[in-house]
Symmetry: C2
Subunit: 247 residues, 2 copies
């Protein structure tokens, strides 16, 4: 039973993350209430967590693994509209159906709250509602940032944008900081990257090869990436700002 206001509801000590939606400032009664409606769910890589149109019976956060939000057209063209990394929140309080598929890209563990009672608690607890609004605004900013990437950037810039987003997220998650070279494993296949960037997997592969040849990134195997110079990568991405976005 943690009592620091920073930590979220009590038992989440066994999550590596805290529920960012419901952390901070929750008092003891609220934490206990949350505890009662909390449960864990696991998914295997490739499993669909929620189908587009389905009822969502929970809200929650990713504990470990990666999930994606994807939209699909009748003819099979797909576009990822969001990437969920550990600590990211999933859920649409007050909404019924999901407007996209949520798919586990790797093995996935989520920490969930039952939706109905969560919504009731939210209605009674302004600071939770406020926190959710903040998070939704963050997601909206990220989505709009991504619209610029999809609409106006070249294939090379798109790849650089994706890599810099993943690098920054990884740095903040592992608290390794952004100074010096960045090292991480790509959490996505070439195809998933293509679906996120509105490209084909062949183009993704070619551009990654090109960035490697030009020394912007190093690759060990197919997934292990080293970025010797983040500034250089961000130039390649066409980013003027140093702000960091992503769902």
């Amino acid at each position: 039973m943690s009592t620091q206001p920073q930590l979220c509801h009590s038992n989440c000590d066994d999550c590596p993350i805290r529920h960012r939606a419901v952390c901070a400032h929750c008092d003891k009664d609220e934490l206990e209430e949350l505890e009662e409606i909390k449960y864990y769910r696991s998914f295997e890589a490739g499993q669909t967590v929620i189908w587009s149109g389905d009822q969502m019976s929970f809200v929650g956060s990713v504990v470990s693994g990666i999930a994606t939000l994807t939209q699909t057209m009748e003819d099979g063209r797909t576009q990822m509209v969001g990437l969920l990394l550990p600590s990211d929140f999933v859920g649409r309080p007050g909404r019924e159906g999901a407007p996209y598929d949520v798919v586990a890209t790797t093995d996935l563990v989520m920490c969930c709250f039952r939706k109905k009672p969560f919504e009731e608690l939210m209605a009674r607890t302004p600071h939770i509602a406020h926190r959710l609004l903040e998070m939704t605004l963050d997601e909206l900013d990220a989505a709009r940032e991504w619209m610029l990437v999809l609409g106006r950037k070249t294939a090379r810039e798109k790849i650089a944008s994706l890599l810099s987003i993943i690098a920054r997220r990884d740095a903040s998650l592992t608290k390794r900081g952004m100074s010096g070279p960045m090292v991480f494993d790509l959490p996505l296949t070439r195809e998933a990257m293509a679906d996120y960037l509105g490209l084909t997997l062949e183009t993704v592969s070619r551009q990654i090869s090109a960035l490697k040849k030009d020394g912007v990134i190093h690759l060990e195997g197919k997934r292990h990436v080293t970025i010797p110079d983040m500034g250089r990568l961000m130039e390649e991405a066409g980013d003027d700002t140093d702000g960091g976005f992503l769902v």
Copy 2:
């Protein structure tokens, strides 16, 4: 002084729209409080309402005219990330700077609330906070829908998608309904459409001509559009759903 719960704060009778963010269920005291912090602003076509990075001192709704949210890269490439039509809400309660430019595309009138006191009222008034969360979720859905358009649709599908969005918005605004042919004026130049769709203005022009030649739309002059068959248009847009999205 309207007392119907449906109508928003009292004096907004002189807006053709009601503040959707703060409408319904506001009691008399709340309406009076809103009244005190309300004011109108007008902009000429082409004027920038808010520059990216600026402090936003208000939240509000479009009364008449069109505004766009646009992001610009250093080299001048621009992408519209949102379209604000009458009754749409603008504002980021709890946020400081704007992450994009807000530009008046036509002459524009907005009905605004001063931000600080609005936020204070919101903190005290759960149903306003709740309404804002709902609206933000709507915008997020619209943004993600648009990511599919930008990432995966052809030029022809993009144009058809934009036309069907405008047609639907127009129908709901004028309460004219969706049965029979739809008639409306395009509120955007070819260039603005291009910036919204991630295309060039030449491609927009060519695709509009093509849709006209194929009888999907009729054009009188350059802006006055008739859509004889919405179903046909939505097929052209590649939409399976009949759901209607947009910021």
